[in-house]
Symmetry: C2
Subunit: 326 residues, 2 copies
């Protein structure tokens, strides 16, 4: 495909994704203009995903598109923000085909509908390097109320949504091991790696409840460390209470992974938050409402650092510290 | 440098760039929260620059940083918006050194001061490909007033800021030709390629005057074509009236370039706008106020397309259509 032909195809595929925001001007202008929602702050976040690091070249284009968007929606959810719009920059290598682009745009379209978010601008460049996708997402939160990593208090409970470690296992499966899993278990884990589930309905409901919140991208242990560091508190986790999926339990029981690997694996995109013990009933009521399981896994104390206690009560040695992002 | 060491250095260098916006939380959270300016819309734009395409690997890191930011500030200026904040995503190859990163951050710091804009978030990823920098810029404009590409009317004058073609000549010089220019001329042209001059003071003053406006990144001819297409009008330019720098005139006189090359070269980052003839006096008064030369180069008519008339009155054949961006 000629460069010019490619850019025309992209314009044709992407322009319809902008139509819910009239201020996106069908992507024909230099910028978008959005009217802020009265009484709200704008929440801004950006995350890039890179071929070979955050996804694999052979992943379906739909899931690559959805992952690029969802890792950002997960950040908005963790801040209690309601997603509104996004900008997309794509650095496309020469192997990208017409069919690939069409499937990619279809993935964006499906997730725009699921999460109520609209493409309002972007840029496309050619690259001799890996496919790289950058999304900048814009959300809205009641003025001054954004959830922070700071704010955890001694005595708080530590909670986590969903299950932990599935995405890391999914990536390990795509890379070749561990083998001999039932096909259904295998697909479930790979799906968790390819398409994270941003907790978009849960985040805004935590605004009046959580003291501190973030989404888990670097691994549960590392990310709780981030809350502890910024909040200037210590965090103690009961490893036996960390929620695992049936698939992860199967692999763990077969010796295909360790609890330490699951708690440091990354890419979970679940929410971890702290809240006072007096909020337990309110938090437990959120799970059926949002259909997102919520599990109490530990507590906040005075001091510094993250301690993860194995079921026997001894500290669990961690295999690695988790990824570090800027 | 280890990955971890590099990310720590980046955090150390970039966090101070965020301090003017308390809602950036010193880049220690998942997102930034900005309070919108009352009575204003948010203006959003994003542009990436890629090593080997928009800058060269040997360019000084300060100028690479400034170009990444400035191409976006130019879009905000073209929309009449006042810049406020930006997000930066960097895909760094392994050749990036500590010294390089320090110089890069110094370039951002200098331009933040010049343009009153603040880093509020970002992401850093490692890449085996070329250095790629993506900025998403956030500006503010009085509600409903953003300048558009649409809106040019038959009878309007066509105006352009600064001079045209210098950046394209600068790039040609960096690539080896044309030779034998005085060193001062040479440096002036290269500087125009490396560090565009966003017309940030001019843009907001055009809000009450211009009918249509954009910044010239794809070449004067192609970008006027964009105004014509979206505004559904024809545009006629007198090539002899297009403002050229003394350096460009020198190269042109020596046969080192053609008028057609200068009008299609791209990377000018000047503003092109249309306005009614009744505004001529007001527009002429803006030049001394903003210290940005403004030149009337043509007019808008009914119809479609861009016609560029050579000094003799015949249509100027164009060597190429200009770059196409999404």
């Amino acid at each position: 495909m000629t460069r010019r032909g490619e850019f025309e195809l992209i314009a044709k595929l992407f322009a319809p994704l902008s139509k819910r925001e009239p201020g996106a001007f069908a992507l024909t202008d230099d910028a978008a203009a959005l009217k802020p929602k009265p009484g709200h702050d704008i929440v801004l976040t950006t995350d890039a995903i890179v071929e070979g690091v955050h996804f694999l070249r052979d992943d379906p284009p739909e899931t690559i598109a959805r992952k690029a968007l969802r890792v950002n929606l997960s950040d908005l959810a963790a801040k209690g923000a309601t997603p509104r719009a996004y900008l997309l920059t794509a650095a496309f290598p020469s192997w990208i085909s017409d069919d690939w682009l069409e499937a990619f745009a279809a993935g964006l379209k499906a997730d725009q509908k699921t999460f109520g978010v609209t493409l309002v601008g972007g840029d496309t460049v050619a690259t001799p390097g890996p496919l790289t996708l950058n999304v900048a997402a814009i959300g809205e939160v009641p003025s001054g109320k954004m959830l922070r990593r700071a704010g955890a208090e001694p005595g708080d409970d530590v909670w986590v949504s969903g299950t932990i470690g599935d995405a890391a296992l999914g990536l390990a499966l795509l890379k070749g091991g561990p083998a001999s899993l039932p096909e259904k278990t295998r697909s479930a884990l790979i799906a968790r790696y390819r398409v994270p589930e941003p907790r978009a309905s849960l985040g805004p409901l935590l605004l009046a409840i959580a003291h501190a919140c973030l989404d888990i991208s670097d691994g549960l242990a590392a990310d709780l460390g981030h809350i502890g560091e910024v909040s200037k508190v210590a965090i103690e986790i009961q490893a036996g209470d960390v929620p695992l999926s049936p698939a992860a339990r199967t692999v763990l029981a077969a010796g295909g992974t360790t609890l330490s690997d699951l708690l440091t694996g990354g890419d979970d995109y679940e929410l971890a938050f702290t809240a006072p013990a007096s909020s337990r009933t309110r938090i437990e009521a959120l799970a059926p409402k949002t259909k997102v399981p919520l599990t109490r896994i530990g507590s906040v104390a005075k001091g510094r650092g993250v301690r993860i206690l194995a079921p026997g009560g001894e500290a669990l040695p961690l295999s690695r510290a988790g990824y570090t992002h800027f």
